[in-house]
């Protein structure tokens, strides 16, 4: 317990009070709080080592560039990617997916080709593919989930045809909290001759990620959900594919030579990093991923497991509560719970909980098609991070029961 208290001290925002009550922050799937190691580096790079990257020969530029490129090495190691050229920095998972949708689309997608996306995906993993299909005259197909929220792997082979170019799936659903069987999905897709993009926005937070073991072709994530500065993100792409893809944006530092007669591009990864990069933010990925690693300590994992068991047990006991994303086994779910309650609107619950000091999310969670699938206009979502305590879970349940009582009268 002392260990948990110590780590909480590293996250200054966790000590905040709202409406005179201690903040209980349970909206971690939207964005995590940041540790002092991240805030400190962010500040230091802004205050003391601010210079543009890769361009100049002066000392400050050299220090800033070293920091930035060392981050690339750290991310490569964290993901167990084969080479640093496969790590492209972006402004977030959304930017990374849009990059792939454009550049992969230009290189590989023709009229009549097919892209498959999962029914439970975040809008960021749906809309860019709709836009790509619109541009190219390609067809978007949907891999459905069953009533429990699990992807119907049995339906996948039939969806894949020789014209299927890419399958896009989340590592972990931001609504259901279920860990998807991405390794199996990749196997099925590769044997059918199509590539796989994994949206790791939630996945990067809740377990080790090994892109070579997963064997995916693209893996994307945002920094801000995994303790790093906002406006940071990563695209991992298989080198052979990135090599064949044209740049997404043109600009400074992504070029080799620029002539009026034509321009040649820089090698990977600079080809995809046009313009001035987030030189203060991106390096915070390094201490952030170190924190993610530290939070994977067995002591914290045991705490997460206890919270998960407590929450599932209590939520199942509340009359009229419907949980979305029922795990077949505890390992299959992260401590993220989306649900609806009969005669208690998700917005009302969120407003009341807010005044009790609890931050949760209500609404569609950027997954409108999934809301339609379950026939609801929205849900309430509580998402825990390893720095949350069992006491906070207990306080949440008490508060939820009180809010429901208020609303049902």
């Amino acid at each position: 317990m002392q260990q948990l208290e110590n780590i909480r001290q590293e996250f200054p925002a966790l000590g905040e009070r709202v409406y005179g009550k201690p903040l209980v922050y349970l909206d971690n799937a939207a964005t995590s709080q940041r540790p002092r190691s991240v805030i400190g580096l962010w500040e230091e790079l802004t205050v003391k080592r601010n210079a543009n990257l890769h361009r100049a020969v002066h000392r400050l530029a050299d220090l800033a560039t070293q920091e930035y490129e060392a981050t690339r090495d750290a991310v490569r190691a964290y993901l167990n990617a084969e080479s640093r050229e496969e790590i492209v920095f972006t402004s977030g998972a959304t930017a990374a997916i849009n990059l792939v949708a454009f550049s992969f689309g230009e290189a590989f997608v023709r009229e009549g080709d097919e892209i498959v996306v999962g029914e439970a995906e975040h809008h960021s993993d749906i809309v860019p593919w709709q836009m790509l299909c619109g541009r190219k005259g390609a067809v978007l197909k949907v891999l459905p989930v069953d009533d429990g929220g699990h992807y119907r792997l049995d339906a996948l082979p039939a969806l894949l045809t020789p014209r299927t170019k890419l399958v896009c799936i989340a590592h972990i659903s931001n609504v259901l909290g279920l860990v998807n069987p991405v390794k199996d999905i990749v196997k099925i897709c590769h044997s059918a001759g199509c590539y796989v993009l994994v949206d790791g926005a939630q996945g990067i937070v809740h377990g080790p990620v090994d892109v070579r073991e997963m064997d995916c072709d693209f893996y994307v994530f945002s920094g801000h959900k995994v303790y790093a500065a906002p406006g940071t993100g990563v695209l991992y792409g298989r080198r052979a594919l990135l090599e064949q893809m044209p740049p997404y944006m043109g600009g400074g530092e992504m070029i080799d030579t620029v002539r009026w007669s034509g321009t040649s591009y820089a090698p990977l990864p600079q080809k995809f990093e046009a313009g001035t990069q987030n030189m203060a933010g991106t390096p915070t990925l390094r201490p952030a991923l170190e924190m993610a690693q530290a939070l994977r300590d067995p002591a914290f994992e045991a705490g997460q497991k206890a919270i998960k068991e407590f929450m599932l047990n209590k939520l199942h006991g509340i009359p009229g509560l419907r949980l979305y994303g029922e795990p077949a086994s505890p390992e299959e779910k992260i401590p993220l719970f989306s649900f609806s309650v009969e005669h208690a609107h998700h917005e009302d619950l969120a407003l009341i909980l807010d005044k009790m000091g609890i931050a949760v999310r209500s609404g569609q969670m950027c997954a409108e098609p999934l809301m339609d699938r379950f026939g609801v206009t929205g849900m309430l979502r509580v998402s825990f991070a390893p720095y949350n305590t069992l006491q906070e879970a207990e306080y949440f349940i008490q508060s939820l029961e009180r809010a429901i009582k208020m609303l049902r009268g």
């Binding site: 917005e347 209500s362 009268g409």
Partner: protein, 137 residues
């Protein structure tokens, strides 16, 4: 008949009796419950107020130069808020509503306590009332 300003002052007084926000919510929930039933057939897209997380329907009709409102929402606190608003503005002339600055909403503390969340679309509700009145002027 009381003036619009007098009615607004009364509502602000009632609301400020509660120190705690949870008590204010209880009050709004109660207002929402007591709102007269809204006919299902009036729940059409053109009566739906955009920009709310919950669904809010507003129906307006003009009679003898005055506007009368009916409303509903699938969320009870939002229903309480719209009930409070139409309680103030129902039966007023279009000109009175269109010229009002809606500043009493600030005095209720609703805007800073609810509006930043975008949740209940308070601004959208006010804008819809204002636009409806303008159209009738």
């Amino acid at each position: 008949m009381k003036t619009l300003q007098e009615v607004q002052a009364e509502v602000v007084d009632d609301f400020s009796m509660y120190d705690e926000w949870l008590d204010k919510y209880e009050y709004l929930i109660d207002l929402g419950r007591r709102l007269e039933p809204f006919p299902e057939e009036l729940k059409t897209d053109d009566r739906l107020i955009r920009g709310c997380q919950s669904r809010v329907w507003l129906d307006a009709r003009e009679e003898d130069g005055r506007l009368y409102f009916r409303a509903d929402s699938d969320a009870i606190i939002t229903k309480g808020i719209i009930s409070l608003l139409i309680g103030v503005y129902s039966g007023r002339t279009a000109a009175e509503i269109a010229e009002d600055d809606f500043a009493f909403v600030d005095r209720l503390g609703l805007r800073e306590n609810l509006s930043p969340t975008r949740a209940n679309g308070l601004a959208s509700m006010i804008e819809t009332l204002r636009q409806t009145a303008k159209k009738c002027c």
